[in-house]
Symmetry: C2
């Protein structure tokens, strides 16, 4: 199933979210306005706003508040990407040149801050202190997680537990904000909010595991960034941890981190591809997706609930 | 009058604000916890939280909500400083080594983001969508203003109007959030909120004019950063604009920006010091302070109102 079909129950409202996102470029400073308009046009898969709307649709859908909320989660995502690219010195993202590569780190820092501010304005428009607090807590989880990741870079001695904590912060926490806020703003019961949290926490982890797999198995053309980027940046992901577990004494991940020589990155990619590691990673991702869906049955049987099941499948099958 | 005396009506509550600020270092990640504890200990003059509390004291003082609000404005200020220092490559701030100089720009970016998140959590604790929205709008004004400043760096053709707009964004906007939120959270009338906005907008501009004067007249020892920092970073401030107006064809500011040779910075400082420019700048700052105070008389006669008058005087007389 394609994303377009999965998004069907909220398709028209997602268009309105994109229009709302585009509106942030209507500001006085001409240069900034142009850059923002470019940035918010490239929304990629728009997974997070879709999660907010689909979650809301499972309860008393309240689009007046879901609209700014959906815009807010997408903008928070964009802001973190702008800062991440500056931190990683990334040249491209989604096949496009990054802000830092075009205008320098200084502008990337300030542009990210501006996007956080706009995300904060949108979330304030929900008039709902509980989701506003959750929004800020999520940003805290994301940024403290990134600090931890940056400080642990090029360290081969990281456990699976640390990895899962890291990807929770990096990806699942924002998925979780997206579905929880959708539920809260649509007057879900506490049980309903928990079902949505559980779904997003687990799908988010599966999504990031697959992301980390693709960094080994995909192509630069499909990803819009070089294969092996994680290893190049010293980020130890699940496939690399498994390779290290299999060859604790002598393995190319360790050498890649020690020497920063790209030939070891290439070697690590080959070894991972030619081992059973990829299958094992997909199995783990699949388990998280099953966990994600286990309580969905308690929700009313709607198209949106079906979309959440399909989304969990999509996460496993996606190739970008 | 010293700041301690000015703060007298809210002295004990300011201590509680500082304790609340210190609490943000109680987190799981040990390294981050240590850095945060260091960062929030150095609150400098704590002007912004004091403004929030003093403003609140002029109405139905509501400390339960003013406490997180005051913590929030101080943290937003700290976050912007951490990012600014990374952008400016600043080595010291308040006489201390900056985060970017110790740990690099990457950690400075993420630490700033984390502080924004914590500021956002505190403001959410006010449970008041109006101040939450104002908080995010203020961050938007600050960061878009900084983008404009960065892009205008080393450009000698900037008008006084542009300068005033810039320093409004840089300084007055956060002063304004501080007093307005204090008033709103203490159930001020709309008129009361406007009086507080007016006060802070104008005192904030005066404060920044004096800051820009001190960059010409003070010493590295007193400021905790090199004299002439603004010119070195290509920031055109009021004294530099006035010097340029006096010598439109040939002046050291223009040469400093064109050549980046520090000898022209030294020359510009000398010329400004030996001219009537400093007096004229102080006159303008003084006019803003008068404007700030013109409507305070409509407030009940309290110690806190007196403190606001004294604060407007302090802003002009301060040497750090």
């Amino acid at each position: 199933m394609e994303l377009n079909d999965i998004y069907a129950p909220v398709k028209e409202d997602l268009v309105k979210v994109k229009k709302t996102l585009a509106s942030i470029s209507h500001i006085d400073y001409q240069w900034l306005s142009e850059q923002l308009s470019h940035l918010v046009r490239e929304t990629g898969k728009a997974l997070r706003p879709a999660l907010t709307l689909l979650s809301g649709k499972c309860f008393k859908y309240n689009f007046e508040y879901l609209l700014p909320m959906a815009a807010s989660v997408e903008l928070m995502h964009t802001a973190t990407l702008v800062h991440d690219d500056a931190i990683d010195n990334a040249a491209t993202r989604r096949g496009q040149a990054t802000i830092n590569s075009i205008f320098g780190d200084e502008i990337a820092i300030l542009m990210g801050d501006y996007l956080f501010a706009k995300a904060g304005e949108f979330v304030a428009d929900t008039q709902t202190p509980r989701v506003i607090k959750l929004f800020s807590q999520t940003l805290g989880i994301i940024s403290s997680g990134e600090i931890n990741q940056f400080r642990g870079a090029f360290n081969v001695n990281q456990s699976r537990e640390e990895y899962f904590r890291r990807i929770y912060g990096k990806t699942a926490s924002l998925f979780s904000l997206s579905t929880q806020s959708g539920a809260i703003l649509s007057h879900a019961t506490e049980e309903g909010v928990t079902v949505m949290k559980d779904f997003a926490d687990n799908v988010g982890i599966a999504f990031q595991i697959v992301d980390d797999i693709l960094d080994f198995t995909s192509t630069e053309e499909a990803m819009g960034k070089p294969v092996g980027s994680d290893l190049i940046q010293g980020t130890l992901t699940l496939p690399a941890i498994m390779l290290t577990e299999s060859y604790p004494e002598d393995n190319p991940v360790k050498k890649a981190f020690e020497t920063r020589d790209p030939k070891y990155v290439t070697r690590a990619i080959e070894m991972v591809r030619n081992s059973g590691i990829i299958d094992k990673c997909y199995e783990m991702a699949s388990e998280y997706c099953e966990k994600a869906c286990r309580n969905l049955k308690s929700l009313p049987r709607t198209d949106s609930r079906q979309s959440l099941y399909s989304l969990a499948e999509f996460v496993l099958k996606r190739d970008i």
